[in-house]
C-alpha cells in the first residue's frame, strides 16, 4: 500500500469519515478536529519514523491528505539526506 492509501485508511478508521477528497481541508470541513490532528501526527511519526516539531504543526503541512503526503515525503527525504 502506498503512503497516500495508508494515511487515508488511518483517517477513515480513526475519524469515521467515509468520503473526502485529497485536497479537502480536514479542519474547515470538520473531517478531523484539532485534537484529532495530534492523533494524526502521532501516527505519522510512528508509521514513518519521522519526528515532527511543534513549529511544523501548521495547516500548510497537515490540513489535507495531499499536504500530509507531501509533508511526509519531504520529511523522509530530509531524513535520508541527513543520514
Amino acid at each position: 500500500m502506498n503512503a497516500r492509501a495508508r494515511i487515508r485508511r488511518f483517517i477513515v478508521e480513526s475519524f469515521f469519515v467515509d468520503v473526502f477528497s485529497d485536497e479537502e481541508s480536514f479542519l474547515r470541513n470538520s473531517i478531523i478536529d484539532s485534537l484529532g490532528m495530534l492523533e494524526l501526527v502521532a501516527f505519522l511519526e510512528k508509521e514513518y519514523g519521522i519526528k515532527i516539531a511543534d513549529t511544523e504543526l501548521i495547516p500548510e503541512n497537515l490540513d489535507s491528505l495531499a499536504r500530509v503526503c507531501a509533508f511526509v515525503e519531504r520529511k523522509q527525504l530530509a531524513g535520508t539526506t541527513a543520514a
Partner: protein, 656 residues
Amino acid sequence: MCGIAGFTLSFGLSPEERRARFGHRLRSMAASLKHRGPDAQTALLLDGMALGHARLSIVDLAGGAQPIRDPATGVTIVFNGEIFNYLELRKRSRYRFRTRSDTEVILACYLERGIDCVLDFIGQFAFAIYDPRIRTLWLARDRVGILPLHYTESAEGFAFASEAKALFAGGWRTPALDARGVKQTLQLWSPVPPRTNFEGVSQLAPGSVARWSNGRFETWRYWEPDLGVEPRAGLEAAKAEEELGVLLEDAVGLRLRADVPVAAYLSGGLDSSLLCGIAQSQLGGSLTTFSVGFAEGDFDERAFQEDVAGRLATRHHSVLVTGREIGGLLPAVVRQAEQILLRSAPAPLLRLSALVRACKTKVVITGEGSDEIFLGYDLYRETRVREFWARRPDSKMRPALLRRLYPYLPMSRQGHELLQQFFAIGLEDPTSPAFSHLPRWAASGRILRFFSRSFAERTADEDPVASVLASLPAKLRGWRLQARAQYLEMQTLLAGYLLSAQGDRMLMGNSVEGRFPFLDHRLVEFAAALPERLKLRGLAEKWILKRYAARWVPKAILERKKFPYRAPIAAALTGPEAPAWTRELLSREAARKVGVFDEEKVEKLVAKLSARGGVASEADSQAVIAVATTHLLADQLLPPAPVPMHEVEAVDLEAT
C-alpha cells in the same frame, strides 16, 4: 413545582360514564408524573375535558390543591410552576379568592384579562386552563422555557402533559424515535420546537400560548427576547450597575418567596456565588447551599465552592461524584431527560438534586441564564474574534486572539494555526444568521457520519442547521452579530438543553424545584438594552455583572478564569471500570436494534476508546455519549420497556 396532564373528551357524558371510560387513562397520566409532584396526585373529569395534576407543595401548603375551579364560570386550571409576583397581582385583582395560592391568581387574571394575562406574570410556568363557556383549552409556557409542556393530537382528541412519558402512560402514543428530532438533537444539542425526540409528540415553544377549540389547534408567541432593541445610548456604567443591582436583588427576593425554605446551588463560579451572596443577605444568614464535586481533578471546583460557602457562612452540603457513578446514573438521566445528550453533565445534577431532597429541601435558586444575557460564554468572545478576523481573512494576527479563548482545553501540544483553521468555518459570510454557531455545529455534526446507511437515507432531507434557521424570526436578520448569537443560544442550548435536559428534568427527577433569578424577564430585557461594551468589553465577558458582583463575591472568584461546568464521560462508558451493561449498550447488536448508528463504526469507536482506557478527544467523547444516550432512550422508553409509572391507585379521581 408540579406536573400537569389532560385531554379532551366528548361532551354530554354522565360523570359515571366519564369515570368508566377515561378515569384510568387520566390517573395513569397523573401517576406517571409523580416524581414532579409527590405530595398529591389528582384527576378531574369535567364535561369535555380531563385534567390531572401531581403536586409538589411549596406555596399555600394547605389550600393550594389543584385543579382549581372558579365556581361561577367553571373555568378550571392545572398549573406547574411559580408566579413570583402573585401577591402584587392578587392585590390588584377584584376576584374573591378562596385560597392563598398563586394558582388561583392565574385563574383570576385569566378571568379578568383573558389569556393575555401571561404578560403580567413574572415567573416560570406551564399551565392549562379549560374555559367551558367557550369550550376552549388554553396552554401557556413561560417566556424562556424553564418548564416543559408537551402535547399530541390524535383521532381521539388532544392531549397535553409536562413530560412525554405521561402521553405514553395515557396511551396517546406508542413511543418511537422521531428521526428528524434525533438528527436535530445530535447536531444542535436540542430538537427544534415543536419537534421532540419522539414521533408525534410536540412541545410548546418557550414564550408561547396555544388554543385548542373546536378540534383546531393554534399556537403563537406572546413574548420573544427582543435582542435587537436599540441599546440605551450614553448609559453610564455606574448607572447601569445601580439598575442591575436593583433588578437582580428584586429577582432574587421574589424567588425566595415560598412557604418552605429556599436553598441555593453553588457551583463556585461567579453567577451562583453572586446569587448566594444576595440570598444570604436577604435571608439574614440562614441560607443552605448545595454543590457537586468531582473526583476527577480536571472537572472539580470544590476549593472554590468551599471558599464561597465559608465566607458567606452558609450551611453547605456537597456530594462527590466519580466518573463511574456518572455512568451508573445515565439510564435514569435519559429516562428523565427524554432526550439524547451530547454531554454527561446532567448526571451529576441528578445526583445533586437527590442530595437536596435527602436534606428535606424542595426549592433551590440556581445561576443559569447569566451567561446568555450578559454575554458570558466563550461563544460570544469567539464570535467577536471571528468577526474581527473575517474583516481581514489574510491576517495572521487576528486569529491569534483565539488562543486566549480556550486556555482550559487540553491542547498543550496543539498547533495554534491548526486550531484556527477550525474557527475559520463560515468566515466568508459574517452576515449569515448562523455565523456564530457554525464551528460548534460543524463539530457536533461529525456525529452524523456515524449514522447507519438506512437512517442516513431516512433523514437525508433533514438539515438541522437549515431547520433551526427557518425557525428564527425574520427581524433577526437586522440584528447585531452578538444579538443573533445570543438568540440562537437561548433557543437551542438554553431552552433546549440547559433548562430542560440538564435543568428541570434533573431537578424534578428528585422532586426539587429550581428557580432562576437571571431569567427574570425584566432582567433579560434590561440586559438586552445595555450597550454591548458594558457586557463584552473587548474580550472581557460579563463586564457590568462582575463590576456589580464585586460587592458580594470574593475577589478570587471574580478573577477566576471562566470554567465551564463539565463532567467526565468516555472513561465511564468505555474505560476499564465501565459497568458491564455499557458493553451491551454500545454493542453492534444494540446499534442494529436501534438502527440510528452504523454497527461497525460504533464498534470501532468503542475499540478505539477502550484501547486508550477511555481517554478521548472531544469529538470521540461527544460521539460515545451521543450513541450511548440514543441507545438508552430506546432501551428505557421504547417498547418493550414499560412506561415509567407510579401507583395509579394513589391518584385521587373526581368527576363532576
